[in-house]
């Protein structure tokens, strides 16, 4: 616990699900909160959750959530003495950490120098190689143009991955199986990187054979303490973006887990890290593991680790920012199995096309072992400007089999109307034999693309027809009854009241 450095008010420089998540812990700790919002987010859930809210500009992130000046200005204006960046947006921008430092406001995150060392992926790779950590084979530095990329890809051998130097979250990332793909994907990767990070520099990595994405959560404090909290397996990805995460991973045994944990701690120490961080690894078919990158922030999937360890990582972040200590390695106890599914406003049948729009109805699951970290509500319009994730649904159980059964059950209880969500697709992932057996890699969604788009069960089609016909019959008869009375000289207010009482719409 920090002596004399207690944080008194936190501004959450983010939106949606993660802003709500951070505010929840602040409330538990008795710390007042400040939300920020763009014009598109006046009605967003995080604004309602916070004690104060500051408008920071128009919808495009560049002019609001990505503006360091506006975030620092909002913190000064409300007297916030700390800023939590969430994930995405400015969370990995050392520029924000430095601006806050200059304004004597605590940044709930690592020191800016650690962010520099890890933030640009190519620099991070060099730093890790220097520290003796194995990295995925690839370009030593950013690549100036397509011709240089083609030359290097020839040396590495296809397939290769284009990646954004400032990258993360799958933005600007493209797998290229042949030289033609590289030429086709290069400009598009450049544009995506520029728009997502304000930095269009790209580099190449060799694409490993059946790679699995396994990451280690670490936590470091300013007293030299650094602890690893276990792994998360994140190989179920579409468009290079994780959609399902679980812990423990099916391919790790205890010695390999400890080895990866120790490498992760070494990586964090090498850059003088402090706070929550994630060291991502690729594990190849022969169970060799390579450093991929370090995310110098809280991850989307951090609740998976929370369920297994019983820790609140946001609370721990705040305590470390106040000068507190992280738990010692032998105090970390992991139990059971946790699985997370990301619920997205998107249509898997149309190549995961985003489906922004108004949520007309929402009911979220509950019951044993279920956690829903949501950022939306019924009536909310999912804006087109930001990431289409609407919630993270998690299950914990003593065994993997039971955790999967639980999450599958909960997905069946999840109801979202008005927009298309990927709920049925997620259930198909959990039903798939390859996922169930634990033998899957980052190619899972592509390899089984067709199997994962399941047709509805024909046995319940008759029930659906009965429901639709009864609802139509009811509506038609309510309208008829309404029409008869409408002629009897009633006022519009009475008509409206009548329509509402019937629960119907006005004709």
């Amino acid at each position: 616990m920090g002596e004399g450095r207690r944080i008194r008010k936190i501004l959450v420089a983010n939106r949606g699900e993660i802003a709500v998540r951070v505010i929840r812990t602040c409330r538990e700790m008795g710390i007042p909160t400040v939300a920020v919002y763009s014009d598109a987010d006046r009605g967003a859930l995080h604004v309602r959750f916070a004690d104060e809210a500051v408008h920071i500009g128009p919808p495009p992130a560049r002019e609001s959530y990505l503006s360091v000046d506006k975030i620092v200005g909002a913190a000064k204006r409300t007297g916030a003495d700390a800023v939590h960046p969430g994930y995405g947006f400015l969370s990995e921008k050392a520029e924000l950490a430095r601006a806050l430092e200059a304004a004597r406001i605590t940044f709930v995150g690592p020191p800016p120098a650690s962010m520099d060392a890890m933030g640009v992926k190519t620099t991070a790779r060099c730093n890790m190689q220097a520290a003796g950590v194995a990295t995925v084979p690839g370009s030593p530095d950013v690549i100036p143009d397509l011709a240089a990329a083609q030359a290097l890809a020839g040396q590495l051998g296809y397939p290769v991955m284009i990646k954004a130097a400032a990258g993360g979250g799958g933005k600007g990332m493209k797998k290229c199986d042949r030289p033609e793909d590289l030429a086709g994907s290069w400009p598009s990767a450049r544009r995506e990187a520029a728009s997502a990070f304000g930095d269009d520099r790209l580099y190449l990595e060799k694409f490993l054979d059946r790679p699995r994405h396994v990451e280690i959560q670490i936590f470091a404090d300013e007293h030299g303490g650094c602890t690893w909290l276990g792994e998360r397996e994140c190989s179920v990805q579409r468009r290079h973006q994780k959609i399902v995460e679980e812990s423990p991973s099916c391919i790790l045994d205890e010695p390999m887990r400890r080895a990866m944990g120790e490498v992760a701690v070494k990586a964090a120490r090498a850059v003088g890290y402090r706070g929550a961080g994630t060291v991502e690894f690729l594990v190849d078919a022969r169970r060799n593991f390579y450093f991929l990158e370090m995310n110098t922030r809280l991850q989307v999937e951090h609740p998976v680790t929370e369920l297994c360890t019983g820790l609140d990582l946001v609370r721990l972040q705040i305590e470390v920012a106040e000068g507190g200590r992280v738990p010692a390695q032998d105090e970390i106890v992991r139990r059971g199995h946790a699985v997370e599914a990301r619920v997205y406003a998107e249509d898997p049948a149309r190549n995961f096309l985003p489906s922004p729009g108004r949520i007309s109805y929402l009911r979220v699951p509950s019951g044993p072992g279920i956690r829903d970290d949501g950022g939306v509500y019924a009536g909310w319009v999912v804006p087109q400007f930001y990431d289409p994730m609407i919630s993270k649904l998690l299950a914990w159980a003593p065994t993997r089999e039971q955790a999967i059964a639980r999450l599958r059950r909960a997905l069946g209880e999840y109801t979202v109307h008005g927009i298309t969500a990927n709920l049925r697709y997620l259930r198909a992932v959990f039903d798939h034999p390859a996922f169930r057996s634990g033998d899957y890699d980052t190619g899972f969604c592509q390899a089984y693309a067709e199997e994962l788009l399941v047709e509805p069960d024909p046995r319940n089609e008759t029930v659906a027809l009965i429901a639709a016909a009864v609802a139509a019959h009811r509506r038609d008869h309510e309208r008829a009854a309404f029409g008869e009375r409408a002629g009897a000289g009633r006022s519009n207010w009475q008509l409206l009241g009548r329509a509402r009482a019937l629960g119907g719409e006005l004709p």
């Binding site: 995506e192 109805y361 027809l465 429901a467």
Partner: protein, 170 residues
């Protein structure tokens, strides 16, 4: 008694359903040659508790225009329900076919970042025509049919609404 025709699979299949009320919330429903006694209780918006015999179902009705997506046990069944009058009108107007012009519309609001073809081009069904960025992701929109690109409204750099016409293929 009311008779409805349900269009399934975008109109490729049809089922006729007869609904006869039998008392408050009680119906006799005939579909696919079988008659069911149904107890239907409307609950919160969009949710209907349905007892078919002793089978208990929760049906969630997500109405989008004339179509309704009915959720039963975690599966969605898209249905377009017509009464007899509307069915006759629909038949008279003629169905939609793959012949003639087809419009490529933006499925969501976003920004056109790339136009991949020009007016007069011969295009294949499934060929990418326009790239629209929404929610930070680029989405390549494909030609609905093989034919000639006869109209192109998409302009690089321009914002588009959901449903906006981007191109026409004939």
């Amino acid at each position: 008694m009311s008779t409805y025709v349900a269009l399934l699979d975008g109109g490729q299949r049809e089922e006729t359903i007869d609904v006869e009320p039998e008392g408050p919330g009680l119906y006799r429903v005939r579909v696919r040659g079988q008659t069911y006694r149904v107890d239907a209780l409307r609950q919160d918006q969009g949710t209907m508790s349905l007892l078919v015999g002793t089978e208990s179902h929760s049906a969630e009705l997500d109405e989008i225009g004339p179509a309704v997506k009915v959720w039963v046990r975690g599966d969605a069944y898209p249905v377009e329900l017509l009464d007899e009058r509307r069915l006759r009108m629909r038949r008279a107007a003629g169905g939609f076919t793959v012949e003639g012009k087809q419009i490529l519309a933006s499925p969501m609001a976003g920004k056109v970042v790339k136009v991949l073809a020009k007016v007069g081009d011969e295009v294949r069904a499934g060929q990418g025509l326009v790239v629209v960025e929404a929610m930070k992701m680029e989405n390549e929109l494909k030609s609905p049919k093989s034919g000639k690109l006869v109209e192109l409204s998409a302009v690089e750099g321009q914002a588009v609404e959901g449903g906006a016409k981007l191109a026409v293929v004939e």
